[in-house]
Amino acid sequence: MKFSYNWIRELVDGLDAGPRELARLITMKTAECEGVEEAGAHLDAVSEARLLEVEPIANSHNRKVLLDTARYGRRTVVCGATNARPGLRSVYVPAGTGLGGRRIGTAVIDGVESDGMLASGAELGIDRDQAGIIELDGPFDPRPDFLIDVDNKSLTHRPDLWGHLGMAREVAAIFGRPLRDPADMSLLEDGPSPVSVDIADRSLCPRYNALVFENVTVRPSPVWLRWRLEALGLNPINNIVDVTNYIMAEMAQPMHAFDADKLQGNTIFVRPARPGEHAAALNGENYALGEANLVIADAAGPIAVAGVIGGSASAIQPASRRIVLESATFQAASVRRTSSQLRLRTDASIRFEKSQDPANTVRALARAIDLLHQVSPGIRVAGGPAGDRAAPPSLPPIELPLSWLEQKLGKSLGSGQVRDILEALGFRVSPASAGVLAVTVPSWRATKDITGKHDLVEEIGRIVGYDAIEPKAPVIAVAPPPSQPRRELLRSLRSMAAAQGFTEIYNYSFVNEEMIARFGFDPSAHLRVLNPIAAGQTLLRTSLLPGLFRNLELNSRNYSSFRIFEIGREIHPLAPGELPDEIPHLSAAVVSRDDTADGLFELKRLAECLAPGCTIEPAEARSFEHPRRAAFVISRGEAIGRLFELHPSLGLDGRAAMLDVDLSRWPEATARNVKYQPLRRYPTSAFDLSVIVGSRTPSMTIQNLLASFTGPHLVQIEYLRQFVVAEGSLSLSFRITVGAPDRTLQSEEIPAIRSRVIEGMRGLGYELRV
């Protein structure tokens, strides 16, 4: 929303702050200003001018024009506009003036020296008329202005700030200056209106007032009005429509003018649309409506979509002579729903969805009488406003205890200061009891914005200025926060993975069909995004691997070997509408161009560091896993993840070993469950054995057999090495350490154990090297 600095100055008496200072104070006390821009700087240089002579130039469509300018005397310009004619009053732009990003100069055109130029309304920036040079029938008096751009988001809760009067009230309160009210209620008459209003549902339309005008002349607005609208980005159309837009920009009250002679019957209906009804709108669209949409209708059907857009059939035309001026409020939610459904956000709907003040409708009509008299001489008001004029029910006053207010702000304030601030903002204040004020909320803040004393804390705090509040430490009980073992776990896993050489990456929670197709995942097992902007965002990931795979592809271009990991959540849908299962996972990858399995063992070591005591057991490979390099990560008898090499068919350059573990099954805080074992007091002995096995026998199988044959005196068993004995057979060497907790083993016991192991293994058909 843009605010005109000049307009605010007209409404606040004696405001002397410059536009930038004003913007700063509005930011600090009311709403965020995003910038201040100067508008119409050239208007200081231009001059009214009368065309004295207009002569054709040989072989040119241009003409030589002699001007009598009010400020610069006689000037000659070359002009191509077809409406240039002697006697016309227009606007002269002298050489040296900046206009629309260029600088007007003196030039010889078609052999004639042209000193400055005559300008169109569009070139002057006061309307959008490019058809010819501007034609004046009154004074040309627009002045340069500054536009203060306020962030719309910071006005979401303030229906009143969608007009200059509301912002002027803030400025008046900030500077302690009087506010000028542009609405003169004495202009309203009391007589009956030629039209009547029939509201089907008061909750959807709290207020609908209308005023009929006769003897209307539809024509372009005076220059000052066009300039004011154009500067704010509102397109000047004709005097009637421009007045409605002017009042919307001033008083935040959207209005609509109907051609009264185009309406069927004398009753204006405010009702839900009937099934199958359409509205042919001012923007040329034809909207299909239903019962959820509120319409304004005459006897024949809809003439406007309530609070959103007017209809084309009853629009103001140059020939319109009688008009009905609508000034109403509609339920915010209903307007918002209709506006979203029609995908049509208008200046009116944006205001109505903020809950406009019902008490403002008749005030806006009074303002319209004043303005229409200025822009349409001879216009007459026919009767008084149609529709209910009773004041809307006001909320009971809010009790504001001053001590409570001070406690919330953390600053002490005088009761007089509090009262002055509230009254400047339009609240009525009276004492309720000792130290308690009774505060009546003004109608323009009462629709939604202010409901309780907590809202008054802000009103007072912001005008006092938050910079006046000193930071203060609270007095609170000292207590350790509840422990969060899962979070601590994630943190230690991150640090360990990084210490092991892995770089942490963050991937999106989104995947798409193409990414998961490589992994053979079923799209229907994913939560779907209903309104994605980009193609990569259609599904939520049920695995970190597709995202990680993209990282591997990317980084393979720059690194021949690298290690990455991510801790993130898999999102698995449950029943429709139920929150999905979000499972934290750690996924890691080692990429190398070497033709070895070293990456897998690096990841195995990572798994062992992260989950001490975990084991790796061969697993059936999934489609994207190397068929002979896939395993489970087992912890406490439960599979908590997988270790595998990526299948070469995925097309990655080099080998990628991957680890993917479910952290919700991760053994928590292993160290805390350790029970101390007394140190061994008696010596142990060790012997080595080598077992000849087929080349695909897992060493763990052999180790487990050796351990079981060793029996109760086993202290530990260590894998030592392996070597190829012959094609298809390997020798695996182990060191077996034996001992007893309560004595030294006798010299004959150790060979006996060794023999038992050898016999046992041979009994199973294994050959041993001893």
């Binding site: 953390g410 609270p474 991150r494 929150l579």
Partner: protein, 347 residues
């Protein structure tokens, strides 16, 4: 004149001693020294032979000769020991000299990796708030409309829903647009008094460019107690920012509208680039908008079953992504989730 036996013995010892000491001194190796030792001090060595002649001496002479013999023996042994130490130190020096290694070679094994810059900032801030007695909470990335909006005083058809472009999912679910739902979950899980923070990933359905992302990171904070004021909020924000930026920062509070706080604020800090004088980064204003905050709206407390007449609180939301970008001077937000090691290895 006949020389006395004792004199002869003593002369021989003296000669042998001198000769042995000369040979030891001249020996080229420890082996040569050891040969001298055997000849002079061995069981069948020269000195042992002299002691056989002692029988011819008077007891006085014998004592005197014994003394001379022992003195010579000790002197030779000491000389041998000195040479031995000498040879060893030369040998050690030679070995050490030969053991030169090139320590400028890279160490074997893998270089440490690194944590994501957002993780690093997040952990720092978690540590700060843990030390102030706040607990760290987690919430789901997929949320219900109730927790993301309604419970935060943003009912359906509220225009504030436009402030956050939402990714909608099957079944009426959505991707959380802020970490604020964790406030609600925190109040549901713990009763007041309550001090919590909730870092996490949030989503906005926006076009992505160098300064806009659809996925970014926030850190939500909340304190609920009997007496919580704007002054207390300012106190915690000052501590937070001093810790994050590792220096005093100038802050200002100004009104900001968020339906779940009342009063609501935007907290700005003096631009770190220009120090408040105005530069392109702060659009010449001298201030950078950093975090929204405010006193918890009584409706939010009420919706979570907390009596706003008895309890009050503050809440704030910190953009971790923004903070990481400010701290490291990252000019393209997309890099953070690019997975590009050329970027990530810098942290």
């Amino acid at each position: 004149m006949e020389r006395r036996v004792s004199t002869v013995i003593s002369d021989n010892i003296s000669r042998l001693r001198t000769e042995a000491l000369e040979r030891i001194a001249a020996a080229p190796s420890m082996e040569a020294v050891d040969a001298v030792r055997v000849e002079a001090l061995g069981r069948k060595g020269a000195l042992a032979q002299f002691s056989k002649d002692f029988g011819k001496l008077t007891p006085e002479e014998r004592a005197e000769a014994g003394k001379a013999l022992n003195a010579a023996k000790q002197e030779i042994e000491e000389a041998i020991e000195r040479r031995r130490l000498g040879f060893e130190s030369v040998a050690l020096a030679a070995r050490l000299e030969a053991e030169w290694v090139d320590l400028t070679l890279p160490a074997p094994g893998t270089r440490p990796g690194s944590l994501h810059p957002v993780t690093q900032i997040q952990q720092e801030i978690e540590d700060l708030f843990l030390s102030l007695g706040f607990t760290v909470l987690d919430g789901p990335e997929v949320e219900t409309e109730y927790h993301n909006f309604d419970a935060l005083n943003i009912p359906p058809d509220h225009p504030a829903r436009d402030m956050q472009d939402t990714f909608w999912l099957d079944g009426g679910l959505l991707l959380r647009t802020h970490t604020s739902p964790v406030q609600v979950r925190g109040m549901e899980q713990f009763r007041p008094p309550l001090r919590m923070i909730a870092p996490g990933r949030v989503f906005r359905n926006e076009e992505v460019d160098a300064s806009h992302e659809h996925t970014f990171y926030q850190l939500e904070g909340m304190m609920i107690d009997r007496d919580v004021s704007v002054a207390h909020l300012l106190y915690f924000m000052k501590i937070l920012l001093t810790s994050v930026f590792r220096r005093e920062v100038t802050v200002r509070l100004r009104p900001g509208y968020f339906p779940f706080v009342e009063p609501g604020f935007e907290l700005d800090i003096h631009c770190l680039i220009c120090g408040g004088a105005g530069c392109p980064v702060c659009k010449q204003s001298g201030w950078v908008e950093l975090l929204p905050c405010g006193l918890v709206h009584p409706n939010v407390l009420r919706l979570s079953g907390i009596d706003p007449e008895q309890w009050g609180g503050f809440a704030f939301g910190l953009g971790l992504t923004r903070l990481a970008m400010m701290r490291y001077g990252i000019d393209d937000i997309r890099l953070l989730q690019s997975g590009d090691l050329r970027f990530l290895k810098q942290f």
